[in-house]
Amino acid sequence: MNNQIFIFLKKILEIRLTEKLISDQYIKKKIFSFLHLCIGQEASAVGVCSALDNNDQVWGNHRSHGHYLAKGGNYKKMIFEIFGDLRGCCKGYGGSMHLIDRSVGFMGSGPILGSCAPISAGLAAAKKFLDKKGIVVCFLGDGSSEEGAFYETVNLAGVFKLPILFVIEDNIYSVESDSSSRKVEGYNHQNIFQDGLKLYYQRISGQDVLKVFQATKEAKKKIIKEGRPSILHLDVLRAYKHSGAQPESENTYYRKKHINKFCKDNDCIEIVKKNLYQLGEEIDFVENFINIEKKKIEEKFHKIIYQIKIRSV
């Protein structure tokens, strides 16, 4: 168990630190791709993707650096793509919002809200029609899940009994509008998706990687055994602004209502650390592990960006 959690922690750290390093470069005007960082939400990507295997496929969205890395996407090609280097995963045609590494089942990503759902349904339909193993995971945000395309696709997935898991990463905000201003009072996901549209629906905290991992395993089992599409609704915390490279705290009017949720205790790295301590790991050992990993990631990142000459073009 402990080894498994260290693997989760390692992946979370890779995503967190890489996003921070990208953010620094963005501020230095070294990146000319629209940017949506996933800092704060790493546990959901890592928890979900760690429960998948090589047969499973993932489709992402505009905020998918974490999903790509968690599914095992090529690190170097992602960095190249974000920097606009032609050695990137989309040869520079896509940028940050279009990541792809089909060799590991990361089938693509795109920024049009809600459209990820029907495309993922197509990937799942291909699996079903060809009788192939595995499921398809579609990552979408709480804003995307308000799109008509999403509701249409949930029904469509049920009609065709597609092997698909929709993961709603609910960070409360769509850009800067909070969910209370976007949803009718008493809006009930459980009633709509489980009772109404007959999916297997779970809602849990997306900050605890272990819980996310277990819930994904459970959903995958249901999808394969019962031929029933599922929704995993994860409550997550986005620590950076919707787009760009600024931390949320620098925004003067945003998130006052939910600022208490951003206390250190709710950070997904702190939660993993707590889990490890409860399982008997020494604080020094864990901190040392984190420091070593951070150093490795920094070295790896800088080794790649030294090869990029885009600013001089």
Binding site: Y93, G110, I112, S115, A126, A149
Partner: protein, 354 residues
Amino acid sequence: MIKINFTDAIKFAHLKNLARNKKNIVLGLGMTYPNEGLYEKFKNQVFDTPVSEMSITGMAVGLASQGFRPCIVHGRVEFAMLAFDQIFTHASRWDYMFGGNYKCPVTFRIAIGRQWGNGPQHTASYHSIFLQSPGINVFIPSRPSEAYEYLIYSSLCSEPSAFLEHRWLYKTFEYFDLKKTNSNKLLLATHYQSKINKKKKYLIITYADGLIEALKTYECLKDRIDISVLNISGFNFNRRNYYEIIKIIIKYDEIILFDTSPYEFGLLSGLVGFLGIVSNKVMKIKKFSPPFTPCPTSPYLTKNYYINYRKIIEYIQKKENFKIILKKSSFDELNLWPDFDFTLYKKKKIYLNG
């Protein structure tokens, strides 16, 4: 050769595609109805769908990216517009935005254009929206044989294709041999050439259901003046075929543009704009098209909306100083689906790369 109408030509093409490859599938509302004639033979390849244009089109896009060749059927372009995100923002730029080597060969079969009694929200054409999107082939068949060729071609090529079928043509027919059609090459246009050689040469340029009125004009005038018809029907994904078309057009002295959609910023208007850029020849151009308004519903109003061949003949008569007595058009001729026979009209087919 057998008599085949436009809708049967589409059905025969589907049957051929479905039989050729199990990954060819057809999706759309009502596609499993017995009168479609597809589901009975190919139960695992033909699917009825929810009335959810966006999601079923997106599912087709996803399937196409995984090696399937789905044909998604939309009963009207106005319904397909609910899926424009998937058609334009996804399928048309799929291979491009992911850096190549990621094909998405989906076919969007979309009914479009004129039909009696359908009014402002069921008769739009919007060809230019499709034509302005790089990455997507656009096929606008005018004859049953073209519909057959294009639907098969769309299942063989590696790009997404929009197959825009004009409902006004559904009852038109022609005698042709299914085995002698050519779906391996891309048909760009058909050229109906006058046999009379006179100093002044007229060319009617049209597309889609405009071909019927253009051929009626041609039939009435072909023994008196040098008049030809150029019907444009196929556009490959990078639109390079414009050059092939321009090479033909510049041989003429006067161009008559005949459109069943408003001309402004449409397909023919785009062609003329292109003509102005690539050719120095000064040409007289006259256009016939509906006014720049939506189409009304009542036959009292549509008779003044759509232009018929009499107007073109009147125009040419005046210029050439002769008079033909034309018999009066019946109500049915003006308002109902024409059962026009294309067989007699000999044409030269113009394919991409010869």
